[in-house]
């Protein structure tokens, strides 16, 4: 097809007109092959300027457009829209940056003009090899799989479910509710946990758009955002496997507590009446706090930061729940003496310090200590510790260990299942620490709550809401998904099947076709970075709109 390239140079007021001899540039490029028209205009990004371009394209019957003006980061989108409005494919366009990276970086008009000529020529050479690219659209399934029936999973399910969006909630134990069902109260409000969670479980049960699978686990998940094929197995009956399709997956699998068995000096498992936070929650929920000899303790020690050094992070909630334990104890045993052993008091929430101030009081001590060792002394417990530089010891009836929060044992399996990775602490890795806390590197797979990292209930509920927001805004019933256009493409004839591209792709967008023995790009997942292109030894891979040849054309002008 005959190419008719229109080249328009923007004066950008004095910004380009005074720094570059535009007429010289026009002279230099007018006689190039395929160049139909070269002209200049005062301000191409203005309403008049855009109208001018649109009219020019139609009047001159242009097939390609080159604009020499400011940075593509400013107005590439603008001129692509002009092309579309004028009836040519927006990718048959190239913007030469003769402002930020040419006119503005030198006072020498000659120098700037020479460089502008090179840049415009390079744009013309490149655009000759541009190819029309079309938007892609694929159908999507709006339903969601939520893995984990604790507060995070329940919240997400309740917010997501609607008549045009089914939620499949898969819980590995026999009932919903997760860890919260074991707590009498939650901080800092000290409201009843069961009040909170029971109502929510009832709401889930009543909701006809949420299908709950208890005693179940996800066996397999194939596909991509908008189109995952899931298999769920009931763990009580071997053969019962359910299959369904969803568009998104939420991992709300929670956490567990570090096992203090791993640190012998705490005496857990060896000395009576040394219990973990979890065991204490259960005991407290039963209504009575008793030692092994069925008598109530007169003194209790709560030990913070158990396993912190081993895990390498602060679990955020333990200082606060340890304070909650002080309150539990004082409620049920008003005369008990409670001693908190801690290293740094971590009370970051806006209500937390007040909670702490109101927890301190008669018979409640806080001792900053290191090198704790719990030993048996007759039928009593003795805690040895270092306070500042002095060594001390304290006889005590009961010890509660507040251990670090860690990922569940099935985190690795779930990560593999959904093609996401584990990050710091072994928790699921978020896409971006700040801007993408609930997203992952796999589009359509979200991580919420303690599965993503230690956090309190309020933050967990917010994250469940965040994943809801992500899904409700991007996975809309009836709406097609538009993936990245400038994706990688691998030539079947040049591919030698070395799989180098597969190994470098951060997104898992390339798979190996065993039959044809070649690599195949999933254009829905591909983000267009080009890493596979550089990794390919046979030149089989290319990025649309950034092909080797297109870059080569720019380069040839650059080195002339």
């Amino acid at each position: 097809m005959e190419k008719k390239i229109g080249v328009y140079i923007c004066e950008c007021g004095p910004n380009i007109a005074e720094k570059i001899d535009i007429d010289k540039v026009i002279d230099a490029v007018s006689s190039l092959d395929d160049v139909n028209v070269v002209d200049r205009y005062k301000l191409l990004c203005s309403v008049d300027g855009k109208k001018f371009l649109e009219e020019q394209i139609k009047k001159q019957g242009l097939t390609h457009l080159v604009v020499a003006a400011c940075s593509p980061k400013q107005h590439e989108q603008t001129f692509m829209e002009v092309c579309e409005n004028a009836g040519i494919n927006p990718y048959l366009f190239q913007l030469a940056n003769i402002r930020e990276q040419c006119a503005w970086i030198t006072e020498d008009k000659d120098e700037a003009t020479k460089k502008a000529i090179i840049l415009v020529k390079a744009a013309i050479r490149r655009v000759r090899y541009h190819v029309s690219l079309e938007k892609k659209e694929i159908d999507s399934n709006p339903d969601v799989l939520v893995i984990g029936g604790g507060i995070a999973g329940i919240e997400a399910s309740l917010q997501l479910a609607s008549s045009d969006r089914k939620i499949y909630l898969v819980e590995k134990t026999s009932s919903l509710g997760g860890l919260i069902t074991n707590y009498e109260k939650t901080f800092p409000s000290m409201r009843s946990s069961s009040e909170i969670i029971k109502q929510k479980i009832q709401d889930v049960d009543k909701n006809e758009n949420i299908k709950v699978f208890t005693d179940s686990e996800v066996e397999e998940s194939l596909g991509f955002f908008g189109n995952f094929q899931v298999k769920v197995k009931k763990t009580t009956e071997e053969n019962e496997i359910v299959e369904f399709n969803v568009g998104a997956i939420v991992l709300a699998t929670g956490s567990t507590l570090f096992d203090p068995d791993e640190i012998p000096r705490y005496g857990y498992g060896k000395i009576d009446n040394v219990i973990t936070a979890f065991e204490f929650e259960k005991m407290n929920l039963s209504g009575v706090i008793l030692l092994k000899n069925n008598k109530p303790p007169k003194s209790v020690a709560i030990i913070h930061c158990v396993g912190r050094n081993e895990k390498g992070y602060c679990s955020e909630i333990c200082c606060m729940y340890s304070l909650k334990f002080v309150r539990y104890l004082k409620d049920k045993l008003p005369d008990v003496k409670v001693t908190n052993f801690y290293s740094d008091l971590c009370i970051p929430g806006k209500s937390d310090q007040k909670f702490y101030e109101e927890t301190k009081g008669k018979n409640v001590d806080f001792i900053r200590a290191t090198d704790l060792e719990i030993t048996k002394q007759g039928d009593k417990i003795n805690i040895k510790y270092k306070n500042e530089t002095n060594e001390n010891s304290l006889p005590i009836d009961m010890v509660i260990l507040s251990p670090a929060v860690e990922p569940t044992s099935d985190a690795f399996k779930l990560a593999e299942l959904t093609s996401i990775s584990l990050g710091d602490g072994g928790f699921f890795s978020e896409e971006h620490e700040k801007l993408g806390p609930v997203s992952t590197s796999t589009d359509g797979v979200y991580i919420v709550g303690c599965a993503q990292g230690p956090k309190n209930i309020s933050e967990t509920v917010v994250q469940a809401g965040a994943a809801t927001g992500k899904i409700l805004s991007s996975l809309i019933p009836g709406r097609k998904i538009e993936p990245e256009i400038k994706t990688s493409q691998i030539s079947e004839s040049f591919c030698i099947g070395c799989k180098n591209c597969i190994s470098v792709c951060s997104y898992g967008a390339i798979t190996f076709d065993e039959t044809r023995k070649i690599a195949v790009v999933n254009e829905v997942i591909c983000r267009g970075c080009g890493n596979c292109v550089a990794a390919c030894p046979s030149g089989a891979a290319n990025i649309k709109h950034f092909t080797f040849n297109q870059i080569y054309q720019e380069l040839m002008e650059a080195v002339k």
């Binding site: 930020e100 970075c529 890493n531 950034f546 870059i551 080569y552 380069l555 040839m556 650059a558």
Partner: protein, 141 residues
């Protein structure tokens, strides 16, 4: 009498960081040598060794590849791969009969306009001292 040597430097700049940093140098009206001809790519990991070799064989006096700082890559790990390829490329450039310092890899963020200007100015001076690409006229492809 030798002509004053005006280097020709090709810069492969990544869209998200270094290209934006170069724009900022311009918006801040800093002086950057016009010897640099920028070529935009989406990620520094797109820059394949062949295009760099071609650049030198076709006469570039210097080639600079600029990407996001490690950890900041818009595509997660692209710049790490660029770094690895670069290490090998340095050796390859020597086999072409060129000083390996004619190839440069820099991490320049979108807010580092001054740094971009400094890096290009310094690179330009270095290339000037090294003189023209010795294989520029010898090779024909």
């Amino acid at each position: 009498m030798a002509e004053k040597f005006e280097p020709r430097i090709v810069g492969f700049l990544c869209n998200w960081c270094s290209y934006a940093g170069a724009d900022l140098a311009g918006s801040s009206k800093l002086k950057v040598p016009s010897s640099l001809i920028p070529i935009r790519v989406m990620c520094s990991s797109r820059v394949d060794p062949v295009i760099v070799e071609t650049a030198f064989l076709r006469g570039a006096d210097g080639v600079i590849v600029a990407g996001c700082h490690p950890g900041d890559c818009h595509y997660d790990e692209g710049n790490y791969y660029a770094r690895r390829r670069f290490a090998v490329l340095k050796k390859v450039v020597e086999t072409l009969g060129l000083e390996s310092d004619r190839l440069r890899l820099s991490w320049i963020s979108a807010s580092e306009g001054q740094r971009f200007a400094d890096v290009i100015n310094e690179f330009n001076e270095k290339i000037k001292k090294m003189g023209p690409n010795p294989i520029r006229k010898k090779t024909s492809l």
